[in-house]
């Protein structure tokens, strides 16, 4: 991709951000939705976040990681344990990284 194409793609990506984030805020009146769609909307953000996060932790180049000696796996497990112990997102990040970084940098896991 040359510079101009890349610039075009970036402008397009910015428009995608604006459009997706504001889509149902754009019309003057609320878009009428059947009740089941409204209930379905409750689950969609959670599912989308799970679908983004889980492959980041469990997959390497599209395949399930075959070993427990993986810094991501252990870091995520410690982060999760902290979250359900204290319910704090900052602590989840800090404890997860405190375990992840030595394993990744020190042991190369």
């Amino acid at each position: 991709m040359n510079t101009w194409e890349a610039a075009l793609a970036i402008v397009g990506l910015a428009l995608v951000t604006v459009l997706t984030r504001s889509l149902l805020m754009l019309p003057r009146e609320e878009v009428p939705m059947p009740a089941w769609v409204k209930r379905a909307l409750k689950y969609a953000p959670l599912a989308a976040l799970v679908a983004i996060v889980v492959p980041e932790v469990l997959l390497t180049r599209g395949a399930l990681i075959g070993t427990l000696a993986d810094a991501r796996l252990i870091g995520a497990a410690v982060g999760l344990a902290y979250y359900f112990w204290k319910r704090g997102i900052l602590g989840t990040i800090v404890t997860g990284m405190l375990v992840f970084l030595p394993l990744r940098i020190g042991l190369g896991w």
């Binding site: 991709m1 194409e5 890349a6 610039a7 793609a9 970036i10 402008v11 397009g12 990506l13 910015a14 995608v16 951000t17 604006v18 997706t20 984030r21 504001s22 889509l23 805020m25 754009l26 609320e30 878009v31 939705m33 089941w36 209930r39 909307l41 409750k42 689950y43 969609a44 953000p45 959670l46 599912a47 989308a48 976040l49 799970v50 679908a51 983004i52 996060v53 889980v54 492959p55 980041e56 932790v57 997959l59 599209g62 810094a71 991501r72 870091g75 982060g79 979250y83 704090g88 997102i89 900052l90 989840t92 990040i93 800090v94 997860g96 990284m97 992840f100 970084l101 990744r104 940098i105």
Partner: protein
């Protein structure tokens, strides 16, 4: 940005800023958001590095950071730009990664639907995952209340600064920070915490499990379509659980009349 019962609306930008600084809800917005900054900063730093390392000109990387302002879609688009994929493929992939924002926008309408369109668009442009998760926790009643705009805007300012500065540092220091450190994992951990905060009952736990299985099973699909598959599967599971005897939320079961 004016609700009935508020003091007279400030006119100049400077007055608006002063009014925002003194508003108690603005202080709460900042207080709630500050603990999120380290994770956001590490993730922003890595995104900055990743943009330059993928071969993007540093000026274009700066443009991307300042305008696109969406970490997950930026990271999804970079390898496609690097390998010279057609622009429409890059944009389609970003649309799919961003689909969850469309759902958020339906819910932002409950709070900000009464504002003029320009302000509605400006506020929703700033609304990332973290703004959404903290806001619906701070204002669980889906209706406009005084102080909501101040709460949202102050949190959004924290996110903007907490994301853009590390991202720009990452662009500048791209050759100094070894990618092998895997600092981007801080972003993954932040999303893990965010996701867990949405797990509030049996139905949401089961939804998350279904979404996880579907996402891994469908990961090989192009354009990040595994996210769409996971959302469809999880929503279907959620709606099934709400049927009588479905085992989901008791309230939902009790409210529905028998067919």
């Amino acid at each position: 940005m004016h609700l009935p019962g508020d003091p007279p609306a400030p006119v100049t930008l400077r007055q608006r800023w002063q009014a925002l600084r003194q508003h108690p809800e603005a202080a709460r917005g900042v207080r709630d958001m500050l603990p999120m900054v380290p994770g956001m900063a590490a993730w922003g730093l890595v995104t900055g590095v990743a943009m330059v390392k993928s071969g993007l000109d540093p000026w274009l990387a700066l443009l991307m950071s300042l305008t696109v302002f969406a970490g997950s879609s930026q990271l999804a688009a970079l390898p496609l730009i690097a390998t010279g994929a057609p622009v429409w493929v890059v944009l389609l992939t970003a649309c799919i990664v961003n689909l969850r924002f469309v759902v958020y926008s339906a819910q932002w309408r409950w709070y900000f639907g009464h504002l003029p369109r320009g302000q509605r668009v400006a506020l929703s442009y700033l609304a990332a995952d973290i703004n959404y998760a903290l806001f619906i926790k701070a204002w669980p009643e889906p209706e406009p209340r005084p102080g909501q705009i101040e709460y949202f805007v102050s949190g959004a300012v924290v996110v903007w600064i907490g994301w853009q500065i590390p991202s720009i540092v990452g662009i500048v220091l791209a050759d100094v920070i070894p990618p092998a450190w895997g600092l981007g994992f801080a972003g993954t951990l932040a999303l893990i915490g965010l996701t867990c905060s949405l797990l509030v009952d049996r139905a949401t736990w089961i939804c998350a499990a279904v979404a996880a299985l579907a996402a891994v099973a469908a990961y090989a699909l192009p354009y990040k379509l595994h996210i769409v598959v996971a959302v469809a599967a999880a929503v279907a599971a959620g709606l099934l659980m709400e049927r009588p005897g479905g085992g989901g939320r008791l309230v939902a079961v009790a409210r529905r009349p028998a067919p």
